[in-house]
């Protein structure tokens, strides 16, 4: 019994640290949707800083710890959020995962390098290597007691428990009892609704990251006596604590916290009672990873279909449609030159270096398959490499010929890949990445510990083959042979990509459900991809081992796989050639840096790690970004048209703009030409026709040089040739408000001048909300083609139209959730086009989004408190809605649909907004409730609120509307007073028969 108590108590020590780390993970994940693999590295950095400040500079322990946890660590979190996480939240999940993995490598190296530089500068820092038994916050050595016989505790453990308890209490108070906590929880619950309520989700995200970093810092400082200064150990610790975050499903802080504690205890119990597994070498070592893997399998909710990461749109293919010579010529020439160089210019040393890079390229190309084609992040590639090489080595030692051994090794890796793929079929995104990582560690610690496979530390000799007259024992011959193999692999992968199966793979990647509907087996495709990738990695591993002439089980560890991934993804995954570039860079750059910059081995590690940082801007890697940017610059230089547009903000540059255009759908519609050739030079010119049936892109627009400040916009053209051919509807130039800001947008096309222009000044004051010539859409597909609407205070404008007419998009543009591609939005006469949802909301424009505008995880009271700060105001709401009063502690998600809608509207009655945009407020409600909703809306009108009401229930809405507008095919086809509504028009509007080109009549 004392045993058990001991195990539980001491398990709570590591459990407390797991809890701290997991809580931080959950906080940062819910703030920005990012699983921070570098969380452990942050903890390590704080441990290092604590050690240097305390032991090196002699600062007192407790103040130093407080400074680190409360100031420096949060500052680091804030900086990283600003620099990187915030941008990463907008790119695909692959780039997110990889960028933080890069950080995981870079941060510790950065810390160590700083220490090294400080030591060189003569500061009194202590060396960070070979330091054991480091002092923590408490006494060192720790004092120990034995309260119960056989159960000991020491001061370090007590400090960890106490600190964790304080943090748990503090977090609880913060989250449950303060307005800030309420906002944070609201942001976790529904990020976009938070913005609609006028709270900056970015600022909340910053706060969450600061908290998260602070917690990591605390874990780091507390763990110093336990883990010492091993970045490796901190990272492993983090991976284990990820299990707890999974338990909290990445959103629940309390669950993650309790999960962390339980995890520590469970781990201790298994270690204590796992005698049954004594005969399996490495089992105890692997326990945390078994728990992680099991946790992922059992606890991950099946989110996406068959393990696909976030859909990241492909970049612009600026070479699409060019001749094959243009596409492949440079690469072929490079390959031939490389092959020739082995026998002409390179020294033996460089020959070896390049051959090593080429062998690695084969391995790196496996990422192109699994992550590039399959959008699955596999962190187990190193496992396939080791497995294949060990098997091949084993067979070679039994006298097998090289080719046969390599083939069997490759197959072994492929089988291993298929086994690893099985969880992939269930998990997706970060869960898949974590699961493959857990499997990689399991393989390192159990599979590759099997004596007959690993042959101790000696490993297996993998002599280089002699193929006919070619003796690959010569580095030069090996180099040429590898060039040929790499070229063949590149060609094969490109052919695969363009084959029917390749198209199926891409289909599964971008839309699994659609792929399934078209008869593509998602499961089979995933399995094939993983198997293929593992086989390729395995083959690369055999070749690499043969370059090495030996393989040992520790040559490529799971951690090596992490660095590889960062290096490959930084270069780019879209084309297999990029992997070759990555392989060569990985082999050559450290040498160049050592030669020319610094002897310190930290710098290359930092560079490789920080390459992930660049992904925040160029999620498709530098190999794709450099030529695309150059290409964009060339285009800009040639004056070919990238239309100036507000949509192409600098930060969207490479990301969203690149999406437009070459979306392989063939719709290079004029609206898609939105890439601003701005001062950043980030103009991936999507204006190039990709030959896939693009209809008259920008061809008919007259090019006219920008007549304003050139740096802001660059040359622009009017967009000619919309889908229906005739009505070019540019005319953005002449808006008075814009001219007044000094930013000239030139380029009037052949279209007619907008009739709103003249009215703009006079009427603006009277309207509460006015949309003028708004054109908007998503990812290159235009939805609105010039919408004009105006709502005055105390007026209900009902917006009617068939499905797909653009009603919701109109609402989103009005609320600031979607930035228009052209046109203006005025709030109370002020140009608010550039304001996001937060500023719009603060200006009094409130959107009640489609569905229910509530935070389901928050209670009724909390939902109200987000809009009504004062207790009196809330009490007034309860008086008006006694149904809510009795259940104020109930989570809003538990209410019925009608009650939820009441809850969404109730606070607005108490504090009426200037403008309310209601997107289908009656959706899915019983007729009696619908009446009640419309009564509330009418009441709001009485308070002077301007209402823009989108409805499908035309009959009901016509009873309350003052003005009615019909939306069809992205245009207002008719707009007039309710009295003028004719049944025919209504029918036409609903059936979408109204011609879009019809004149716009306004009262």
């Amino acid at each position: 019994m004392a045993d058990l108590l001991g195990f539980v108590l001491s398990g709570l020590v590591s459990g407390a640290l797991y809890a701290l780390l997991a809580t931080g993970l959950v906080l940062s994940y819910s703030a920005s949707g990012l699983f921070n693999f570098a969380h452990g590295a942050t903890a390590y950095l704080c441990a290092l800083a604590f050690y240097e400040l305390h032991s090196g500079f002699g600062w007192p322990a407790v103040p130093t710890a407080v400074l680190l946890v409360c100031v420096l660590a949060p500052a680091l979190g804030w900086g990283l959020d600003k620099l990187m996480f915030r941008k990463l939240a907008r790119v695909g999940e692959t780039a997110q995962i990889v960028a933080t993995i890069g950080l995981l490598v870079a941060l510790p190296a950065l810390g160590l390098w700083t220490v090294e530089l400080l030591a060189d500068a003569g500061a009194s820092v202590e060396p960070a290597e070979n330091q054991f038994g480091l002092p923590g916050v408490g006494p060192s050595p720790a004092k120990s007691w034995q309260p119960v016989d056989g159960v000991g505790v020491d001061s370090d453990q007590l400090i960890i428990w106490a600190a964790t308890a304080v943090v748990a209490l503090g977090l609880w108070v913060l989250m449950r009892r303060t307005p800030l906590g309420l906002k944070l929880r609201a942001a976790v619950d529904n990020r976009s609704l938070v913005e609609l309520r006028g709270l900056s989700a970015d600022r909340l995200s910053s706060i969450a990251w600061m908290l998260s970093s602070g917690l990591a810092g605390l874990a780091g400082v507390l763990a110093t006596p336990l883990l010492g200064l091993s970045a490796h150990d901190f990272t492993l610790f983090l991976f284990v604590s990820a299990t707890a975050a999974v338990l909290g499903r990445f959103v629940s802080v309390p669950l993650a916290f309790v999960g962390g504690l339980g995890l520590g205890v469970l781990q201790n119990l298994v270690a204590g009672y796992a005698d049954f597994a004594e005969r399996i070498t490495g089992f105890r070592t692997a326990v945390p990873f078994l728990i992680l893997f099991a946790g992922l399998l059992l606890l991950t909710r099946r989110g996406r279909i068959a393990g696909t990461a976030a859909v990241d749109p492909p970049p612009v293919d600026y070479l699409a449609g060019r001749s094959r010579l243009r596409r492949w010529g440079p690469w072929a020439v490079a390959a031939v030159l490389l092959a020739i160089s082995f026998y002409t210019v390179t020294t033996p040393f460089w020959t070896g270096l390049l051959a090593q890079g080429l062998a690695l390229s084969l391995v790196f190309m496996s990422f192109t398959v699994v992550t590039g084609l399959g959008a699955m992040v596999s962190l187990a590639q190193a496992t396939f490499v080791t497995g294949a090489a060990l098997v091949a080595g084993l067979l070679l030692s039994h006298g097998w010929p090289f080719v046969a051994a390599a083939a069997v090794g490759t197959c072994a890796a492929a089988v291993l890949g298929a086994l690893v793929a099985l969880p992939a079929l269930r998990l997706g995104g970060r869960s898949l990445a974590l699961a493959t990582l857990a499997l990689a560690f399991l393989a390192d610690q159990v599979l590759f510990q099997i004596g007959p496979l690993r042959n101790g530390d000696t490993g297996w000799a993998v002599p280089r083959p002699v193929l006919g007259p070619v003796d690959l024992g010569d580095d030069r011959a090996l180099g040429v042979a590898l060039t040929v193999l790499v070229a063949a692999a590149v060609a094969a992968l490109s052919a695969l990509r363009n084959s029917p199966s390749g198209r199926a793979m891409l289909a599964v990647r971008s839309a699994p459900a659609a792929a399934m509907a078209s008869g593509v087996s998602v499961v089979r495709t995933k399995l094939v991809l993983f198997t293929l990738s593992a086989g390729l990695a395995g083959f690369g591993g055999v070749m690499y081992a043969s370059y090495n002439t030996r393989v040992t089980a520790t040559d490529f560890t799971a951690m090596t796989g992490l660095i590889w991934l960062a290096v490959v993804v930084a270069a780019g995954l879209r084309r297999p050639q990029f992997a070759v570039v990555a392989g060569l860079v990985y082999a050559v750059v450290p040498h160049l840096i050592a030669e020319h910059l610094t002897e310190s081995t930290h710098l290359p590690v930092i560079l490789f790690g920080l390459a992930g940082l660049a992904l925040a801007n160029d999620p498709d890697g530098y190999c794709a970004a450099i030529p695309v940017r150059l290409h964009g610059r060339r285009l800009a230089g040639a004056g070919v048209g990238a239309a100036a547009s507000e949509a192409a903000r600098a930060d969207a540059g490479a990301t969203s703009a690149a999406v437009a255009g070459a979306d392989s759908t063939g719709t290079v519609a004029s609206d898609a030409v939105a890439a601003g050739a701005g001062s950043t030079g980030a103009a991936p010119g999507s204006a190039v026709p990709d030959g896939a049936g693009a209809n008259s892109v920008a061809a008919r627009g007259t090019v006219s040089p920008g007549s304003g400040d050139a740096d802001s916009a660059g040359p622009s053209t009017a967009d000619g040739g919309t889908a229906d051919g005739g009505s070019a509807d540019a005319a953005t130039a002449a808006m008075p408000a814009r001219a007044g800001t000094g930013r000239a947008v030139a380029g009037v096309g052949g279209g007619r001048q907008a009739d709103v222009t003249g009215r703009a000044g006079g009427e603006a004051v009277a309207t509460a909300l006015r949309l003028s010539r708004v054109r908007a859409g998503y990812g290159g597909a235009a939805v609105l083609h010039g919408v004009d609407l105006a709502v005055r205070p105390g007026e209900i404008l009902a917006l009617l139209g068939p499905n797909g007419a653009g009603k919701s998009t109109t609402c989103r543009v009005a609320a600031g959730l979607v930035a228009p591609l052209a046109g203006q939005v005025y709030v109370a006469g002020r140009d608010a086009t550039r304001d996001g949802a937060v500023r719009r909301s603060r200006a009094g424009v409130v959107l009640a989004p489609e569905g229910r505008g509530i935070f389901p995880a928050l209670t009724i009271e909390e939902n109200l408190a987000l809009y009504l700060r004062g207790r009196d105001a809330r009490e007034a709401v309860y008086e008006r809605f006694p149904g809510l009063a009795g259940r104020r502690g109930v989570p809003a998600g538990a209410l019925s649909g009608g009650e939820q809608q009441m809850l969404a509207l109730a606070p607005l009655l108490q504090r009426p907004p200037k403008v309310l945009i209601a997107d289908e407020p009656s959706l899915g409600l019983a007729p009696r409730v619908v009446e009640e909703v419309f009564r509330l809306l009418t009441e709001l009108r009485g308070h002077g609120t301007a209402l823009l009401l989108v409805e499908e229930k035309a009959t009901e809405v016509l009873k309350v509307a003052d003005t009615v507008a019909y939306l069809a095919q992205g245009r207002v086809s008719w707009c007039g007073p309710r009295a003028a509504v004719e049944a025919d028009r209504l029918t036409e509007a609903y059936l979408g028969l109204a011609s879009a080109g019809e004149g716009v009549a306004r009262p």
């Binding site: 045993d3 001991g6 195990f7 001491s10 020590v13 590591s14 960070a128 070979n130 330091q131 054991f132 038994g133 002092p135 060192s140 050595p141 000991g152 006596p225 883990l227 010492g228 200064l229 091993s230 970045a231 490796h232 150990d233 201790n268 204590g272 070498t281 490495g282 089992f283 105890r284 070592t285 692997a286 072929a332 031939v336 092959a339 020739i340 026998y343 020294t347 040393f349 070896g352 270096l353 090593q356 610690q445 510990q449 101790g456 530390d457 000696t458 003796d471 010569d474 040429v480 060039t483 040929v484 070229a487 590149v490 060609a491 052919a495 002439t549 520790t554 040559d555 081995t601 930290h602």
Partner: protein
């Protein structure tokens, strides 16, 4: 597209094959495999490089190995060099415990810097071994890796320290412990190692070693997770402390690294254990600067495979002076310095024997039948050292903040390894 890529691939392949076939035959004579290489040797200098893991993610570093080698080469140069040739020591490349960088470093030193020999080579990985053997580069380092056992160009400064089945096991540790405990008969020991293949191998080796010395081994398990140091040791200590028929064993032998030993010994001591604690890795005066480690390791007997710094001898005094001179200040001595120093020393001793006409062949010939006695690592003999360790060692005990010799430095006959 596929047609095009196929065409390109064919072109590339054809070019490559032609080139390979044309040039391969011509190349075989031109490499450094020439029979009597004088790579790195001029009339006045001999070029030597080193490979050491200095920066690692685990926080373990052998950085000072470089200083040790430098100290030894400095003295050799001060004494007039090798038959009139100065040693041009390039310093050590950092391999960061990364196998690919280990090989890259070996290639760089041989192919670009054209060194005659590599001394020291001290790392946890030695993937450059096959390359160095093939390129005929005499290499000297810490023989804790299998590559130091067998290949004719690779020498461990204390011999090959990895027992191979059919070879021998050094009895230094049990013999030393016998002196400490006043005999082996009737004494029980528990051996603990990491849960990995290497740990399993260590258990197998030392179980045989201690048993054949007469100890009763009551516990020998590779049980401790190898990936990260456990935060809690109770699960392991409980079992060990009951292993001798419910009682604690007379000695606990740890075959693990320092962070593990600190955790284990602290936990064991807290239970009130009074027996002998011993491990093979913690002879590092640097550990004494931290009060927590000083307390954890107090009383522990540490095995060293070289003469302890505390054992005053002429050679040891000279070692201390050389290090101080090379460092430019007083620095605490540690085993990494000794590794570098003695790796350089073995190279110098064999090269000295090779004479003025220094080539790889003459060097190798001198190594055949090389032997000397009374060095800091005991009695050295080649090629025996490429099969087994020199078999010498001592135990030092940490007592009240300083190390004292508990079993003086001696050489013991090895036993066959089954």
């Amino acid at each position: 597209m596929p047609r095009m890529t196929r065409t390109i691939a064919t072109v590339v392949a054809a070019t490559a094959m032609l080139l390979t076939a044309a040039c391969n035959s011509a190349s075989s004579g031109g490499t450094s495999n020439a029979e009597d290489s004088v790579r790195g040797v001029t009339d006045t200098t001999v070029k030597v490089g080193g490979i050491v893991s200095m920066t690692t993610a685990s926080g373990y570093s052998k950085k000072d190995t470089d200083l040790g080698a430098k100290a030894r080469f400095d003295r050799a140069n001060a004494e007039g060099g090798l038959h009139g040739r100065k040693i041009d020591y390039l310093g050590a490349e950092d391999d960061g415990q990364d196998p690919s960088r280990n090989l890259a470093a070996a290639r760089e030193l041989v192919q670009r810097d054209k060194v005659f020999a590599i001394a020291p080579m001290s790392s946890t990985t030695f993937s450059g071994a096959d390359f160095l053997q093939k390129q005929r580069v005499p290499t000297f380092g810490w023989g804790t890796l299998p590559s130091f056992c067998g290949p004719s160009y690779i020498y461990g400064f204390g011999g090959c320290m990895v027992p191979t089945p059919g070879g021998t096991i050094s009895q230094t540790w049990p013999e030393g412990l016998e002196q400490v405990m006043g005999g082996a008969e009737g004494r029980s020991v528990a051996i603990l190692a990491n849960d990995s293949d290497a740990g399993k191998f260590g258990i197998r080796t030392y179980r045989q070693s201690f048993e054949s010395a007469g100890f009763e081994v009551t516990y020998a398990k590779p049980a401790v997770p190898a990936a990260a140091v456990p935060s809690d040791w109770s699960a392991y200590t409980k079992e060990i402390l009951r292993s001798d028929g419910g009682k604690a064993p007379d000695a606990i032998v740890s075959v693990m690294q320092t962070p593990y030993n600190i955790g284990l010994f602290t936990a064991v001591k807290r239970t009130g254990y009074r027996g002998v604690l011993t491990d093979p890795t913690d002879y590092d005066p640097g550990l004494l600067t931290k009060s927590a480690t000083r307390k954890a390791l107090d009383g522990v007997h540490v095995l060293t495979s070289f003469q302890p710094f505390e054992q005053r001898s002429a050679a040891m005094t000279r070692f201390g002076e050389d290090i101080r001179k090379a460092a430019g200040k007083d620095v605490p001595l540690n085993m990494h310095m000794m590794t570098g120093y003695m790796s350089a020393d073995l190279f110098l001793a064999i090269a000295e024997k090779a004479g003025r006409d220094l080539t790889v062949s003459s060097f190798q010939k001198a190594a055949d039948g090389f032997a000397d006695t009374g060095t800091l690592v005991g009695d050295r003999a080649e090629r025996k050292g490429q099969k087994e360790s020199f078999g010498c060692g001592a135990l030092v005990q940490l007592k009240g903040g300083t190390y004292v010799v508990s079993a003086p430095f001696r050489c013991y006959p090895p036993i066959p390894f089954k």
